[in-house]
Symmetry: C2
Subunit: 295 residues, 2 copies
Amino acid sequence: MIWASGWRLASAVSNAGGLGIIGSGSMYPDVLKEHIIKCKAATNKPFGVNLPLLYPNIDEHIQTIIEYKVPIVFTSAGNPKAFTSLLKQHGIVVVHVVSSSKFAKKSEEAGCDAVVAEGFEAGGHNGREETTTLVLVPAVCNAVAIPVIAAGGIATGRQMLSTMVLGAEGVQIGSRFVASNEASSHENFKTAVIHTNEGDTVLSLKQLTPVRLLKNRFYNEVKQAEEKCATPDQLNILLGKGRAKKGMFEGDVEEGELEIGQVATLIKTIQPAAAIVKEIWTDFEAALTSPLNRR
Amino acid sequence: MIWASGWRLASAVSNAGGLGIIGSGSMYPDVLKEHIIKCKAATNKPFGVNLPLLYPNIDEHIQTIIEYKVPIVFTSAGNPKAFTSLLKQHGIVVVHVVSSSKFAKKSEEAGCDAVVAEGFEAGGHNGREETTTLVLVPAVCNAVAIPVIAAGGIATGRQMLSTMVLGAEGVQIGSRFVASNEASSHENFKTAVIHTNEGDTVLSLKQLTPVRLLKNRFYNEVKQAEEKCATPDQLNILLGKGRAKKGMFEGDVEEGELEIGQVATLIKTIQPAAAIVKEIWTDFEAALTSPLNRR
């Protein structure tokens, strides 16, 4: 949710009864500080910060999170042992995002309070095992005793129930909230998301770090380079710097990197975050009342 | 289910209350005839035949199916318009296997009675869109009015309910029945299936027809060839003839092609087909009674 989930979206989700999460991966330390302060001013409900552990200024982010008493941190893309005990010493709930049972166990051993089990269909950075949510969630539930939150492929209340039937105790939803009024994503990107069809996203750049992207001119360049057996160095040069910002924040939907999940094919409108939360919840409750009666 | 589902498995599943399906893709015309005759002798319940439409002797298979009054045919890997009306003229129920909403709509237009929506996690041949079951099932349910059967990633009753919550009216289960006593798969392959871990299967040979395989020496050769930018012709030569038979039927688990789904990671024992059907059904009923209470 880089370039998408700042204080506006996080506070709107928390105010609507969800747990809003600020995506810190695209923020300079000062920017994160500002977003936390504004989020606290905009909601008196709990909210979280997602912290990619490979972030270059990670220590500054950690200090900000501790200083401003962020109640919940979602760590991802790194070793859960790195910061979990430090954060927990400050009373912060720590949830680690995993794409395998192996890392779920490591997270439990590191003292994490819960894990997010994120499947192959999810947008953005993704695991090399390519395990889908339908298989990953029961596998992770078998592997650990801490709560499991399902992610990847979830945009509706029926999908939420579907993954909770597998043992998840909650869900993490990304793509649907990119298509919200409060997301800081560029309007061009939001528009692209709601026009996505099946097969329009693809897990790409597997030689570097696998990332699910919306196909566009940039992706086609990557694909052509890969077909010509480009090396990781050549792909890194092609990728360059700032592709994600260019695409998702600045709205260059052809030359930018557009991170979104497969489930975008089910997202048809840009709505206020509160309306999304309400719709998902209403749909979830209806599904729970009548699980076999969708149609 | 080629090299796995003959009359023994199909009749055992049908006798246990499921709908057993004979996989005709690996059978010569005379062999299919024999399996249908033996299946009819072994069960008085309905059963089906899966018919890959690219099968070279397709007309002979069709004639056999009509002659022996097979009640239900699952067609796959081809255009649903090809044989649907002919089969239906003979009172045969026709279900087409799809990996996209687009082909689901084509199946409905062709007069199919139902579709199987099979996700990326499924074993064997697979769609190019790589849409997972969690996303594909609701998309297909939105696209067509005929019943939708979910497939790919389903080995337990909870997974069955999970996909039915999304709108499926039934499920098609493959991998779990490869690990059955009645499957004609070689014991070496069955043993490999129950020792599969997350990440051990991969969607391979995408330049030819994408197929989900268990990683082994043969797969590593394909991977190395692809990394050296092998052409489709070179891959076809490497693949050669009879790889699937060699692996799944003759038990050469290193040099053969082993088709199995991601869900193999959840399959731990080889059981009689009737025990599998019963366990899935019991698990499904428990899940339906208590959908949020897995753990």
